[in-house]
Amino acid sequence: MIDKKKIAKFLGYKIVRFAILLVVVILLSFILIDMSPINPVNAYISNMVVGPEKIAKLEAYWGVNQPITVKLMNWLGNILTGDFGTSLIYRTPVLQVISEKFTASLILMLSSWVISGVLGFILGVLAGFKRDTWVDKAVKVYCYILQSAPTFWIALLVVMIFSIWLGWFPVSGGVPIGALSNTVSFWDWLRHLILPAFTLSILGVASIALYTRDKLIEVMSTDYFLFAQARGESGWTLIKRHGIRNILLPAITLQFLSFSELFGGTVLVEQVFMYPGIGQAAVSAGLRSDVPLLLGIVIFSAIFVYVGNLIADVLYNFVDPRIREGEESG
């Protein structure tokens, strides 16, 4: 059975580590922005007309003319009380912008994460089982090429083929510009989701397929696998009973560890398809000096990546029966 006490201890340790990490990420990103030529107050003022009392408030928020340590503490205090500031581009509180954009991106990321995971696993099992045949070679070539391909270029190719050449999908945009997101019909929205999700899926397949293939080949050379073969098991039953059972968990763990790459891919894909998600918000925040939004996105992306790693850790340490048994006896 899963040891509840051990899990609680493990999670407690992870949460403390996470808190420290988060503080460091917050400080680090703030220092980086502080080093940059961007002045958050000036960027704000140059973008809209504001009264002197508003400027004073902004200067107090950013701690202008104060030493970096005071600024840092000031900023950290603001963040910890949940005050992320107001976005310059969207003119709304940063938290609101992020929650809206992150939801849109999460749907995109989640769907492509699931599709690429399942597809990659199937391809990996096929390639491993049919080792050194044309299936294996085709999967390998596909994976190697996609691993070396720039994400945004694949996205451009997908646009060229499916939107322009075949004309199946709209060229760009998650929702028509100017329309409110709740007035857009579900189908309209789905039509805009398919291509970005498709692009991210075919790109995400590569690493998981190669990993699964290698793992399966490793399992196929073990004694218990050989013994099962000697008993007369073969084909799909053999793979299902002795192969997949052993490689599924490591593969899922790997898929959870890929959150960081998934986020990076989403930023690029959203930019090409003009999908109004967190990636596009991050890029426009960076280009238009929207400091509060950019810092907010960095913090939330760090949380996102950490959650992925944490789930992978839990799977690895507590769900895998072999490691669980090993720790109990050891």
Partner: protein, 286 residues
């Protein structure tokens, strides 16, 4: 190899080679092409990429292999120049990255506090998505080639640092290091004379394998608009410009420059993997 036995056609040259010769051939060919690209791009005079309104938006032809853009510039020349630029930035970024990795790996070997500090630092750098961190660093340094270079360098050292850290730990348990310690040699002396020569080949391979990632990340960040300035003929710039002309059917503007970048990255991967096999023959059986 086993297939080549019953083949008696002209491909038998490949079949008759042993693995070592094949590996050397792969390294030689890929390095040759890469060097060729860099040299050619170095000799392309920027003024030769002139605007010529008479040949606007021409699809690929023998005269213009990759077609021309909306200003009549030859895309083949622009792409080559961009590839050269990518290799240059990739080179400096991966060398800088390796230096950081080596320095931190040695730092971690000095005592156990520094060791946990370094592994914690690796965690911190892995916790922010790479792309976002590069953008942040690039903004902090005011953008431009320097910003991207430092950004890429500061995000790609983690994997090499991990490998080196484990390797150095292993070497430190060996007898010759223990003896040197008993003889009173300084930690610096041991690091320089006994550990560095042993991990040197791994550092070289690590640097080459960072290259493809560095090039791709540079292109991605430039594509997003944070990297090189729009006047530079970088691949990221070319592709982000091409986005505006895709709807009008100018497919060659995006296809060929991206494909060239893909081939460049693949060549670096092939060169790196094969050099790894040469320097560390045990890995050739994987």
């Amino acid at each position: 190899m086993d297939k080549s036995v019953n083949k008696t056609n002209k491909f038998d040259i490949l079949g008759s080679m042993n693995l070592r010769t094949k590996t050397l051939l792969a390294i030689g060919l890929s390095v040759f092409i890469l060097v060729l690209v860099v040299i050619i791009s170095f000799f392309i005079d920027p003024s030769s990429i002139t605007t010529d309104w008479s040949v606007m938006n021409k699809p690929p032809s023998l005269e213009h292999l990759f077609g021309t853009d909306w200003m009549g510039r030859d895309m083949f020349t622009r792409t080559l120049k961009g590839l050269g630029l990518s290799v240059q930035i990739g080179f400096f970024a991966s060398v800088l990255s390796s230096i950081i990795a080596v320095a931190l790996a040695f730092l971690s070997s000095f005592n156990k506090y520094l060791d946990s500090f370094v592994s914690w630092l690796i965690d911190v750098f892995l916790s922010i998505p790479h792309l976002l961190l590069i953008v942040l660093i690039s903004i902090a340094l005011g953008g431009g080639a320097f910003g991207v270079l430092v950004g890429v360098a500061f995000t790609h050292w983690t994997s090499l640092a991990r490998v080196l850290r484990a390797e150095i730990k292993r070497i430190k348990t060996s007898e010759f290091v223990t003896i040197s310690e008993e003889l009173g040699k300084s930690k610096f002396w041991i690091a320089r004379k006994q550990i560095l020569p042993l991990v040197f080949s791994q550092v070289i391979v690590g640097t080459i394998l960072i290259f493809p990632h560095a090039i791709m990340h540079e292109a991605s960040v430039t594509f997003l608009g944070f990297g090189l300035s729009p006047h530079e003929p970088a691949i990221g710039i070319i592709l982000s410009e091409s986005m505006k002309y895709l709807a009008t059917g100018n497919w060659w503007l995006a296809l060929f420059p991206g494909l060239s970048l893909l081939i460049l990255v693949l060549l670096f991967d092939i060169a790196g993997e094969n050099i790894k096999k040469m320097l560390d023959p045990a890995s050739a059986n994987d």
